[in-house]
């Protein structure tokens, strides 16, 4: 694995390797010394052309726990606001010998452009591009689902566990959501079934080929209770057209209301409630749901750091593989 651009082209084995490694990275957070020397002397650049706090902080924490040096670059207050192109920015970073670039951009496909061009010779991690993909979010969601599965099935370890047979309902703005797309590809690869629930106005064209079921009614999707419900954020900054009449109507039809929570509890279901954050309380998720024991929101944040440590480690370890080594040495690895 040289770059992490999408979950669509991530193989089953690669996904499990990332998750198994992330499990071990999580243990580092529990120790007295919360640092590993694996990326000592390497430089990771957070290149954020779009606002983000939690993803950037999560990547920064991950890189620092692996002892890498971190450069934060945000478009605001940088030369980008003076009109510098992605190419020139990338070449500037290359001149500073960055080993990995974590990029978030409002244009779908910009991480791929960066990875395939010869502007910079670094590992590229997609931290969200337009309405395309957000692979590390999907990986942390998969890690959370895996933990949920191990808990409900009474397993001791999640190592090697996939999502075979699980049913995940993803609710909300599928049209604009890169998280929904990345989740769909990764969960499907790992064996889970995905149902999208959204108002018809918030579904993209061409979904017919996606390996998922589409419903317009949340109550229909919650009966029988799925293993997990992922509430997508209503992205107010992208709501430029009239996608739904009022916030109240959205909350009533597609929000996780206290009534829906009550119905799950009454049915005795083990359904987990997930949210990629930041939450709009009272809109797509009620406070009762967000603060219930079913909510995995904080687990997701914690797993975010572990998954990103795992990805950075797996991308940057072994990048000198082409350098010839003494073959006799290879046994003693």
């Amino acid at each position: 694995m040289r770059h992490l651009l999408s979950t669509k082209d991530l193989s089953y084995d690669a996904a499990l390797t990332i998750l198994d490694t992330a499990d071990q990275m999580a243990a580092v957070g529990q120790r007295a010394v919360k640092k590993l020397p694996a990326l000592r002397g390497r430089t990771v650049v957070n290149l954020f052309f779009e606002d983000s706090t939690r993803t950037r902080i999560s990547f920064e924490t991950a890189a620092k726990r692996l002892s890498a040096d971190v450069l934060n670059f945000s478009a605001k207050g940088s030369s980008v606001s003076k009109g510098e192109s992605l190419k020139d920015t990338a070449q500037t970073l290359a001149a500073m010998s960055a080993d990995a670039v974590v990029i978030r951009h409002s244009a779908s496909g910009s991480p791929q452009q960066l990875a395939e061009s010869d502007w910079i010779d670094a590992a590229v991690v997609n931290a969200g591009d337009g309405t395309h993909e957000h692979p590390t979010q999907a990986l942390l969601d998969a890690m959370t689902l895996r933990q949920h599965r191990a808990r409900t099935e009474g397993r001791e370890s999640t190592r090697g566990l996939d999502l075979e047979g699980m049913h995940v309902v993803v609710v909300g703005d599928v049209l604009h959501s890169r998280v929904a797309r990345s989740d769909l590809w990764l969960f499907t690869t790992l064996g889970a079934r995905v149902t999208f629930v959204a108002p018809p106005t918030l579904l993209p064209v061409g979904m017919g080929e996606w390996p998922c079921r589409v419903l317009f009614s949340l109550d229909e999707a919650l009966d029988p209770a799925p293993d997990a419900v992922m509430m997508l954020r209503v992205q107010r900054e992208r709501m430029h057209a009239a996608f739904f009449p009022t916030a109240q109507e959205y909350a009533r039809e597609w929000g996780f209301t206290p009534e829906r929570l009550g119905a799950l509890d009454a049915a005795g279901a083990s359904t987990a409630i997930m949210h990629p954050g930041p939450m709009n309380r009272g809109l797509e998720i009620s406070s009762a749901a967000a603060d219930s024991p079913r909510s995995t929101v904080l687990d997701q944040v914690r797993n975010g750091v572990s998954v990103r440590m795992s990805v950075l480690y797996l991308l940057l370890a072994g990048d000198d593989l082409d350098t010839p080594t003494d073959p006799a040495r290879l046994q003693e690895r």
Binding site: Q24, L66, S157, R159, A317, G318, L321, E332, R333
Partner: protein, 207 residues
Amino acid sequence: MNDGTSVAGPPTGPVTARVILSAADIDRALTRIAHEILESNKGSSDLVLLGIPRRGYPLAQRIAAKIAATDPGFDAAASLGQLDVTMFRDDLRKNPARTPQPTRIPVQGIDGRTVVLVDDVLYSGRTVRAALDALVDVGRPRVVRLAVLVDRGHRELPIRADHVGKNLPTSSQEKVRVRLAETDPEPRSAEHADCVVIEAPAPGAGA
């Protein structure tokens, strides 16, 4: 750490394999190591055994069971752990990334106690160096000792083992494979359920 599942290695041509230690030999070596550990620690108080994955851990388990059989005061479960060294290796950039194994430290911790690191094969000493670094991040033991099943020589660092199952002079062209029932379940004869094998390029094979 001698990873027998690794595909990397010298050009794979015809090899001759020779069993050096059988299951009974390994068992006797581990019994002796268990007694040596008790002797040098003057008993089993404050003793912690940490196995280095993958094959160091089952060896540490067996040594702990033998110590417990000799000294009923020794709580094998509370004094046994596993220490993963993957993230501390000095060759991370030169080799494909490996999935780290869990690190499990006994709940009492290792501060002020005697830690015995257990591994299968001692070769360059680089795994042990990584283990010493990993240990620093976990706590500050009073003493750290090293027990290995096989010492095959060719050290690259000033590291030596305190307890050795067998000293095995080897050529660097040879590979030493340790097979244990726990980690290598492929069928073998009962006599060789656990074994140590030397693989050498067959003479005249041009390897």
